[in-house]
């Protein structure tokens, strides 16, 4: 296979993955301010896009290994070839698109890990090397356990923060409590999450591209990231963010629980605090899983609000499937790529076909900035609701 062709294909695919990563994760930062009306939907995604762009430019540290130790790379393990990365990326992108179609927030990095694991296992099988290239102990400690701990941690933090926010502002004399004021704060807490996301996630793709260039011998392993890699990755994630994964924003903003300003602020603050703490202690947690946990926790923390556990359950199932599903697609892609150059081209065509099909399917019930949270508003205007019933001590009230 012409080495440069596969390298070009991998770079294109990696940038597309970056793009899906962007629109998949807009919701983490911007779902709650959009749901409470703190920001207009278009303004919110534009803000998130700018912050992601800035964050991506500021992040200069790029991962040294593509899989963070999950796959035994180099000596004694599997050789990470551009074909393998290509297959892994296809698995990750297809899973990202499927979860977007279903409106499920799911971790893009876990999808990438899954795709690579599948591709590596298939690669080892094809090459006849009996050794298992995947370190499953690392899979458990880096992917499975954090996936359980992240939402629990964020949920607990958000629950307590929400309780505090409401307890401090609650007035039993029925006078205005000023909780509208939390809308201003929401803008800042969400921006913090968006900025943190930009610094973390764009560099994942930069790592993939840089390692591909190194593997192809186009760049020495000691040199820094090329400037064009930083620029293209930053632009791809910002564009993806600006597209706004409206389906996921709807799920996170209105599907799990009805978010109110104080609650949204508490949830985003919990998300930001958990992510910052985790990235500084070096105990990596997925932004998506933290953000989802926060929204559920804040829903539990506000009196009279309901958490729709059916939606939460669907999201949980999505997380369970992320690794095996992306892995299965990655393995299939690796199997086809094993045919040689023609296989890679078949892969590319099949991948493009799946992406276009999912996009066409999504057009049947399009979710966009105009209808992301407003569908119920019209019915709300028609029904007279008694607003702000007076809070009573000890009783549950809205």
């Amino acid at each position: 296979m012409d080495l440069t062709l596969i390298v070009v294909l991998v770079i294109a695919l990696a940038l597309f993955f970056d793009f899906t990563n962007g629109f998949h994760d807009t919701a983490n930062a911007m779902a709650t301010p959009i749901a409470t009306g703190a920001l207009r939907p278009k303004v919110a995604v534009a803000l998130a896009a700018v912050l992601n762009l800035v964050g991506a430019f500021l992040s200069t540290e790029v991962a040294k290994t593509i899989s963070g130790g999950i796959i035994k790379e180099g000596d004694g393990g599997v050789l990470i070839t551009p074909e393998l990365i290509f297959a892994g990326l296809i698995g990750a992108i297809v899973w990202n698109m499927v979860t977007w179609l279903l409106g499920l927030p799911s971790s893009s990095s876990h999808a990438l890990f899954g795709g690579l694991i599948g591709a590596a296992l298939m690669g080892a099988l094809l090459s006849g090397a009996g050794e298992n290239p995947v370190d499953f102990a690392v899979v458990v400690s880096k992917v499975v356990l954090p996936a359980i701990l992240a939402p629990l941690t964020a949920g607990l933090v958000a629950y307590l923060a929400t309780k505090l926010a409401y307890a401090i502002t609650r007035r039993y004399d029925g006078k205005p409590d000023g909780r509208d004021g939390f809308r201003h704060a929401q803008i800042f807490s969400s921006s913090l999450v968006a900025l943190a996301h930009g610094t973390n996630d764009a560099q994942k793709t930069m790592g993939v591209i840089t390692l591909t260039l190194v593997a192809a011998g186009l760049q020495s392993s000691s040199s820094d990231v090329q400037w064009w890699v930083i620029v293209t990755c930053a632009v791809a994630i910002a564009l993806g963010t600006y597209m706004g994964g409206w389906r996921i924003i709807r799920t996170l903003g209105t599907g799990l629980t009805d978010v109110k300003p104080a609650q949204g602020f508490a949830a985003e603050t919990a998300t930001a605090a958990t992510i910052l703490a985790s990235s500084h202690v070096g105990f990596a947690l997925s932004t998506t899983q933290v953000a989802s946990g926060s929204v559920i926790g804040s829903g539990l923390g506000r009196r009279g609000s309901k958490v729709r556990w059916r939606t939460a359950g669907r999201i949980g199932v999505g997380w369970l499937l992320t690794l095996p599903a992306a892995g299965a697609v990655g393995a299939l892609a690796a199997l086809i790529a094993g045919l040689g150059p023609i296989g890679v081209i078949i892969d590319a065509i099949l991948g493009a076909g799946v992406i276009i099909t999912i996009f066409l399917l999504s057009q049947r019930n399009e979710v966009s900035a105009s209808n992301v949270v407003s569908e119920v508003a019209d019915s709300g205007r028609a029904v007279k609701i008694k607003r702000n019933p007076k809070p009573k001590k000890g009783k549950v009230s809205k």
């Binding site: 703190a38 913090l192 910052l276």
Partner: protein, 114 residues
């Protein structure tokens, strides 16, 4: 396997920092309300059935806030103290945001400018 100590550290750090920030801001809002300046921030877009606010309702809310402020039993001095306290609380939250920004990009900035 898994580093439980660092996980515990993450949990405690996140819990303490989030609770401090949220409490400071909430206290700020409470004091602002006490000082007679109830914040009325209408949604940028009228979104769902729960938060929907019509212009008439906004005027109503403003009227109620003004009435509550008039009827406040606090003296002018007390109100002023509450206002100062409110802004002190908001300053704490703002500081926390700056610390957050520093945690995210501080290291990178050092690297770029050094």
């Amino acid at each position: 396997m898994i580093d439980w100590l660092s996980f515990l550290l993450v949990l405690v750090a996140a819990l303490v920092s989030a609770c401090v920030v949220v409490s400071a801001y909430a206290l700020g809002i409470r004091l602002l309300t006490v000082s007679g300046r109830t914040p009325i921030v209408t949604p940028a877009e009228f979104t769902d059935a729960i938060t929907i606010v019509s212009p008439a309702e906004i005027r109503q809310a403003e009227k109620r806030a003004a009435k509550a402020a008039r009827k406040s039993p606090l003296s002018e001095g007390q109100k002023r103290a509450a206002l100062v306290g409110a802004w002190a609380c908001f300053a704490v939250s703002a500081l926390a945001v700056l610390v957050g920004v520093y945690l995210i990009i501080g290291e990178h900035l050092f690297k770029i400018f050094s």
